[in-house]
């Protein structure tokens, strides 16, 4: 075989190494599974790393209860196929308080995602949690280690990260502390797509164009996924040929108009994009450093 491994081969090898390192050194790891394309790639890599054994950790979905219906169906199918335990955690305090994406914006995200995540990690005493974040997503992500140390309160201290030298990851922690581990750190959005194509990785259908009911809101196409969608005065859902570049809570995730129904078309569209991937997520745009602040509080 050629001594020159392809770019994707190298990325894959690095990710497999990271998965195994956690399995070998951490007491009670878990994989955060958010059902999106990055999660799908991460799950595929995890299965590869341990084949023929199933990955030696469960999947955790921190559910805001506002995901697309297609996502829930897909999640349950994939977990069963991988032979992995699926833990679904909903922050019941947020539900009881009636938090929703329409009225509570950033606070809703903080409670249902960040606080929900911390609750779930604490409840199960996980000491390492895999996340699908990539360094090309956002500026503070670009600064994060692959093995990201978190304090007992799940805080991230960007000024004091552990040096990460060669492939030697320091996984030592004290009781109550934890690591967030990012096996996809060095992948770009385009790498993700080309790898999905190469490996034929199944995805939620929402990534591909179809006629779907949407409304235009704050210059974004928002899909009307169920009857909980709150329509503004004058808003009438219309059928549009759309797809999603990124998947989150449906009322907060903007779609793009697209006719790309195959992976090849999606990749070509991605290459020609003039907006970055997270441009479609209302929640990331509040302030330049909002992602960093959320991470300091314990967000992924």
């Amino acid at each position: 075989m050629s001594a020159n491994l392809s770019h994707l081969d190298r990325l894959e090898a690095e990710s497999l190494h990271i998965f195994r390192e956690v399995a070998a050194e951490c007491r009670n790891p878990v994989m955060l599974y958010s059902i999106g394309k990055d999660s799908s790639v991460m799950l595929h890599l995890a299965r590869k790393a341990f084949h023929p054994a199933p990955p030696p950790f469960p999947l955790l979905h921190v559910d805001t209860t506002w995901k697309f219906r297609d996502m829930y169906a897909f999640r349950n199918r994939m977990a069963a196929e991988a032979g992995m335990e699926l833990i679904v955690h909903v922050n019941q305090e947020g539900v009881a308080a009636g938090l929703n994406p329409f009225d509570h914006g950033a606070n809703y995200t903080r409670v249902m995602k960040t606080e929900g995540l911390k609750q779930a990690l604490d409840r199960h005493h996980f000491d390492a949690a895999f996340g699908g974040a990539r360094r090309d997503e956002e500026k503070s992500r670009a600064k994060e280690r692959i093995f990201s140390f978190r304090s007992k309160s799940h805080g991230w201290d960007p000024r004091n990260q552990r040096p990460e030298i060669w492939r030697l990851y320091n996984t030592l922690i004290h009781e109550g502390e934890s690591m967030r581990v990012f096996p996809l750190s060095n992948w770009t959005e385009l790498d993700i797509w080309t790898y999905i194509e190469r490996e034929n990785i199944p995805l939620v259908p929402l990534y591909f164009a179809a006629e779907r009911p949407v409304v235009k809101r704050d210059d974004q196409w928002i899909m009307v996924d169920d009857d909980r969608m709150r329509l503004m005065p004058g808003e009438v859902p219309q059928q549009r040929l759309i797809r999603f570049r990124t998947l989150g809570c449906y009322p907060l995730t903007g779609a793009v108009e697209s006719s790309a129904t195959t992976l090849a078309e999606v990749v070509m569209e991605t290459m020609g994009a003039t907006q970055s991937e997270r441009g479609g997520r209302a929640i990331d745009r509040e302030a330049s450093a909002s992602m960093e602040r959320k991470k300091r509080e314990g967000y992924f």
Binding site: H7, A53, R135, P158, L168, L172, R198, Q275, A289
Partner: protein
């Protein structure tokens, strides 16, 4: 059918590091590279323009540094704190750029970026010339095995694009680099802020006949991979889903491996043959350095995580004594004798620096003596490991010659290490096998050897309590010995002072002595302040399971100071005694002492009874 992935694959990837002193324009350069190569998306440019108005340091113009300096603290201070990883591709090549901080305080983050880079762009401010930090970074690049350096002489706009200024800096650096292991230096004049000579030639630098930065990077040779180096396969994880399957997962550090190849386990020398190589569901005939695989062998050989599979005819050194360069990354200095965790290719062992041979001056590259290694210093040291592991010299194999040191209590990564060679001593000093062993000696005395380790502040009452315990043991017909801090300092340790480094060595010698005495079958009472957890832990690890009993003589500082039996607190307070524990030197309270005694509520004799009762309860005394 050709896949999209195949069509889109850029020819290869170059891993680049940008480094140099603070304010030399590293982040600006990367921002400029991305912007001028038209690699930014519309919303990113809009964000950049908005941020430049708010945080920019360039008047009304776009501040390119804000593209990469994404942390709040970085924007507030206008500096880079941590490595930013940037990925971009031109039609010719794919790049991974590690943009690293210039501040001396964050040198560890620069080393993080350097450890995987093939080429370094070392920035120099044309107005300021080479700085200490420029040299430090060049030296770290050299130690980390980066052979190619681009000396980017930046801010040429501020010196009127003067050729003489550039030539002087290039010559200064060439003279320095000649004495390092850097093999090729390419100086390029440019201005990141103005965009001169970044992606293409600039008329303002018309005297420059060499390449602009980006075209040079597109052409620069990749560092040779490790495929042609002998096979090293450190086992990372053993896969045993059921009794029919036993696989060894790991990343091939170097070389190649094929089905049918014979391999040996480096440490034990046991042999087997490769029967299968898999990645997920795919089977391969052969795999090479960099691939993460699952390997199966013909024989049921005892192999665990950390074992290294190698060719029989080309084995690494398996040693517990190495000489290595260290880049120290912690506020707390390296203390020879203190145990740290050493992590290398899937192995973690306890290790200590047995001798700090010299420091390497970043200004002159001279070797100077020193007892400790401070933050950001580079040193050369002998290390002693608790168990032998397989190493190659770093110069021959970056994957199997590098290690990190981790503090056992804070868990911080405190050093990056590069093995120069293994010390033959490991192979040449063998344990003398003796017929009368420790068990035999202990049996004759009809007792279990035990170390009672009394720790606490000066004046806490350690020696008083220890003395009572020994009197009672003696009366009961036990064979004992007491090692007292003051007494040992009159003899065995009289060459040692009271610096942190000397305190560590003091405890190391006493712990070794106590161990020899347990071999003799004795019950050993050690009465030492022993202020640091690390060293008490080291002593504990020298002894057998259950043999080490830590007794914390817990007396508050104000009471110990009031007692002041030797008048030492008074002297320390008067400034006549330096490094006195509790006053100007720390005492780390034990976290898991077997016994804690309170001298304020019971007499020394009562406390001695408590300790003896504990020994009986644990079966140490019959």
């Amino acid at each position: 059918m050709q896949t999209l992935a195949g069509t889109l694959a850029a020819p290869d990837t170059l891993r680049v590091l940008t480094c140099g002193s603070v304010d030399d324009g590293k982040s600006t350069l990367i921002g400029r590279l991305l912007y001028d190569s038209k690699l930014l998306l519309q919303d990113q440019i809009a964000d950049l323009e908005r941020d430049s108005r708010r945080h920019g340091t360039t008047g009304g113009d776009i501040d390119f540094a804000l593209l990469v300096d994404g942390l709040e603290a970085e924007r507030e201070q206008g500096i880079t704190i941590d490595v930013a990883w940037r990925f971009f591709a031109t039609p010719r090549r794919r790049f991974i750029i590690a943009d690293t901080p210039g501040h001396e305080q964050y040198t560890r983050n620069m080393a993080t970026g350097a450890s995987t880079a093939e080429l370094a762009i070392l920035l120099v401010d044309a107005e300021k010339g080479l700085s200490r930090q420029t040299r430090r970074h060049a030296l770290i690049c050299s130690l980390m095995g980066i052979k190619q350096v681009v000396l980017a002489v930046n801010k040429m706009d501020l010196v009127g694009y003067d050729e003489a200024v550039f030539e002087k800096i290039a010559a200064d650096f060439a003279a320095f680099a000649e004495r390092t292991r850097i093999e090729s230096v390419t100086p390029i004049p440019l201005s990141a802020r103005e965009g001169d000579n970044v992606t293409g030639p600039s008329p303002r630098l018309s005297w420059w006949k060499g390449p602009a930065l980006l075209p040079f990077l597109e052409e620069a040779p990749s560092a040779p991979g490790l495929v042609e180096t002998p096979l090293r396969f450190p086992v990372q994880w053993v896969c045993r889903p059921d009794h029919t399957f036993r696989g060894y997962a790991g990343t091939i550090s170097s070389g190649r491996i094929a089905v049918g190849d014979e391999v040996v386990v480096a440490a034990s020398g046991k042999k087997s043959r490769v029967t299968a190589i898999d990645i997920g569901e795919n089977s391969l005939e052969e795999a090479v350095a960099g691939q993460s695989i699952m390997l199966r062998l013909a024989d049921e050989v005892d192999i665990a995580r950390g074992d290294v599979l190698v060719p029989a005819e080309n084995r690494p050194e398996v040693t517990d004594q190495i000489a290595a360069h260290l880049v120290w990354m912690a506020e707390e200095p390296l203390l020879p004798g203190r145990p740290y965790w050493l992590k290398a290719a899937n192995r973690m062992v306890s290790a200590q620096v047995s001798e700090l041979k010299h420091h390497l001056s970043v200004d002159t590259l001279e070797e100077t003596a020193g007892k400790v290694l401070e933050l950001n210093e580079i040193g050369f040291a002998n290390l002693s490991l608790a168990h032998p592991i397989a190493f190659d010299p770093y110069g021959e194999n970056r994957e199997t010659g590098g290690f990190i040191l981790i503090d056992r209590f804070t868990h911080s990564t405190v050093a990056a290490g590069m093995v120069d060679f293994s010390l033959r001593r490991a192979a040449n000093i063998h344990w003398q096998s003796l017929d009368v062993d420790r068990n035999a000696r202990a049996r004759l005395k009809n007792q279990k050897p035990t170390v009672l380790w009394f720790t606490g502040l000066s004046g806490a009452g350690k020696s008083t309590v220890a003395n009572w315990v020994e009197k009672k043991l003696y009366a009961a017909g036990r064979h004992t010995i007491t090692l007292d801090g003051d007494n040992v300092r009159h003899g065995l340790n009289r060459d040692l002072g009271f610096t942190d480094a000397d305190r560590v060595e003091n405890i190391r010698r006493v712990a070794e002595t106590a161990k020899l005495m347990t071999d003799a079958g004795l019950i050993v009472l050690v009465s030492f302040i022993s202020p640091f957890r690390s060293e008490r832990q080291m002593a504990r690890q020298l002894m057998m399971e259950g043999e080490f009993v830590e007794v914390f003589v817990d007396t508050p500082l104000d009471i110990a100071e009031k007692r002041d039996p030797k008048g030492l607190y008074a002297k320390a307070r008067a400034g006549q005694l330096k490094n006195f524990t509790g006053i100007d030197s720390p005492y780390q309270v034990p976290e898991n002492a077997e016994i804690t005694v309170d001298t304020t509520s019971a007499s020394p004799e009562e406390l001695a009874d408590e300790i003896i009762a504990y020994l009986r309860q644990k079966g140490r005394l019959s």
